[in-house]
């Protein structure tokens, strides 16, 4: 598959260290072309989550350059960074659902933050909740959900605003194979509609389901594997 246009994400010679510790990522170069589907693999502690945090602008690199949607993020003002963040959907490993909000409100959160009118997005949220199999749990609070349900809720929240870049950290780790396959179809559908997808996973079956580039992270270094 060939891609044209400016890459969605371009990391150049990225280094990352926490405090005064050693570099957990060193000289990382990663380019995600617009509309690409990419897997990121690596052992636990290899730095996958740190790399994803850099990609979704939760961390600043110790060195190197991050270009997102064609913009050097180090030159952007905080308000401009927030506009960029609205174009990114993130599924975190620990879900980060808001406990006092219902499943429905959690999923609708990015639209609410973006200032959309509630009546406009009710059908979208309902449709997506049905798609991820949480329609009957719309008014449940996150603490009452199973791990798999929480994960589906987090995924629905990440994709509801139809992001240009979708980043997921172990998105199918807590769900059964059937739901996992369904969620993967959702990611593939988002990708078909133009979203760039980056998924960090241990799940070999997941990688085999989709034709995608795969990068392996080991000892802070990134290598590409063709699947």
């Amino acid at each position: 598959m060939t891609f044209t246009g400016a890459p969605t994400l371009d990391l150049q010679r990225i280094g990352l260290r926490y405090g005064r510790g050693p570099e957990v990522l060193a000289d990382i170069d990663l380019t995600l072309p617009q509309g690409s589907f990419t897997f990121l693999t690596g052992a636990s502690g290899a730095g996958k989550s740190s790399l994803l945090k850099l990609a979704y602008l939760s961390l600043k690199p110790s060195r190197g350059l991050i270009n997102l949607f064609g913009q050097d993020v180090s030159t952007l003002r905080p308000s401009e960074l927030q506009v960029l963040r609205r174009r990114i959907g993130v599924v975190l490993q620990d879900f980060r659902l808001i406990d006092h909000l219902s499943v429905w409100e959690n999923v609708a959160l990015p639209l609410r933050v973006a200032g959309r009118t509630r009546s406009d997005y009710i059908p979208d949220v309902n449709e997506l909740l049905n798609w991820v199999g949480l329609g009957h749990r719309r008014n449940a609070l996150p603490p009452t959900l199973s791990g798999g349900e929480k994960q589906r809720c987090a995924i629905a929240r990440a994709v509801i605003a139809k992001p240009d870049l979708l980043i997921a950290d172990e998105p199918t780790g807590n769900v059964d194979p059937e739901i996992g396959a369904r969620l993967l179809r959702l990611f593939a559908e988002m990708n078909r509609l133009g979203a760039t997808v980056l998924i960090a996973t241990h799940d070999v079956n997941l990688i085999e389901e989709v034709t995608a580039r795969t990068f392996h992270l080991q000892d802070g270094q990134l290598r590409e594997h063709r699947t």
Binding site: R86, R96, H100, A108, V113, G135, R138, R157
Partner: protein, 295 residues
């Protein structure tokens, strides 16, 4: 067709225990501020009433050389006063009435017959007494007089009340400062307690302004409710002072006083809410900026 819950849920949790404690603090502060305001306004009104009463009343003392001269000198003084303030009401005091005025300073027993008790004429006049002209006219008529238009006393009263009003205003200001500090502290604590939610909001693209508005909304509601309850409690105390047994002279003397004080209390409650909102907005924006710098 599935439907969400009818109402949009607040993005920040209510945290009822901390909220109640904070509400109590704001209630007490607003109650004290409202009482200080009511006392300051009451003292100001009282001063105005007394000053108005004093400005309409004056006293002329005629230092009578002997009792034989009392009647003619009193009559002469009365004639001059009548000419100077034709619309005034003269009340000449008898020797016994004038003596009764100085009796408290002389102790028990009757006044000696040969005590030179001055002649006293009390004047109630809608216009100010022309003191200098009268003094000249009395002197020309051979009368030794002392004219007291109470201006010295009313000046001292105004000055004292002015200080009381200033003190009351300073108290309201100090309490406002304390409310600002409390609101800022509560906002910072709220930001720390809701770190996870803020992280999610930031990741969803919420600006600092969006997040600050959540805390501003919470602080404003808390400030308005606390201040409203405090003002109502102070109002209740003031109603007791105004209409209860042994009603105080600083209380309300009419509907007008009550309405103006209630408007002042409503303004105070609004100002409290505004202070809480501004403090929360400032504290949250600053905290978010500092955390971003540290990240």
């Amino acid at each position: 067709m599935i439907e969400p819950l009818a109402n949009q849920q607040p993005l920040l949790p209510a945290r009822p225990e901390q909220g109640r404690a904070l509400l109590l603090v704001l209630f007490v502060m607003a109650f004290l501020a409202a009482l200080a305001l009511l006392f300051a306004r009451g003292a100001d009104r009282l001063s105005d009433r007394w000053t108005a009463q004093l400005s309409q009343s004056s006293t002329v003392q005629i230092l009578i050389p002997n009792e034989a001269a009392r009647a003619p000198q009193m009559a002469a003084a009365q004639d001059l006063l009548q000419a100077a303030v034709p619309r005034g009401t003269m009340t000449p005091l008898t020797r016994a009435e004038a003596g009764a005025l100085i009796k408290p300073w002389l102790g028990g027993g009757d006044l000696p017959d040969d005590l030179p008790v001055p002649g006293v004429i009390q004047i109630d006049s809608p216009i100010k007494l022309p003191v200098e002209t009268l003094e000249r006219q009395f002197a020309d008529a051979g009368l030794t007089t002392v004219i007291d238009d109470h201006s010295r006393f009313s000046g001292q009263l105004k000055q004292t009340v002015g200080r009381l009003v200033l003190l009351g205003s300073a108290l309201v200001g100090l309490i406002g400062l304390a409310a600002t500090a409390v609101s800022m502290f509560a906002t910072r604590a709220g930001l720390a307690a809701q770190r996870d939610i803020i992280h999610v909001l930031v990741q969803a693209g919420a600006t600092d302004g969006f997040i600050a508005r959540l805390f501003v909304g919470q602080a404003t509601r808390r400030g308005l409710v606390g201040a409203g309850l405090g003002a109502i409690a102070a109002l209740f105390i003031w109603i007791v002072i105004s209409f209860g047994p042994g009603q105080g002279s600083v209380g309300w003397r009419g509907l007008g006083d009550g309405i103006i004080d209630m408007i002042a209390l409503a303004a105070l409650s609004f100002a409290f809410g505004l202070i809480c909102a501004l403090a929360a907005g400032w504290a949250s924006l600053r905290q978010l900026r500092d955390e971003r710098r540290r990240a």
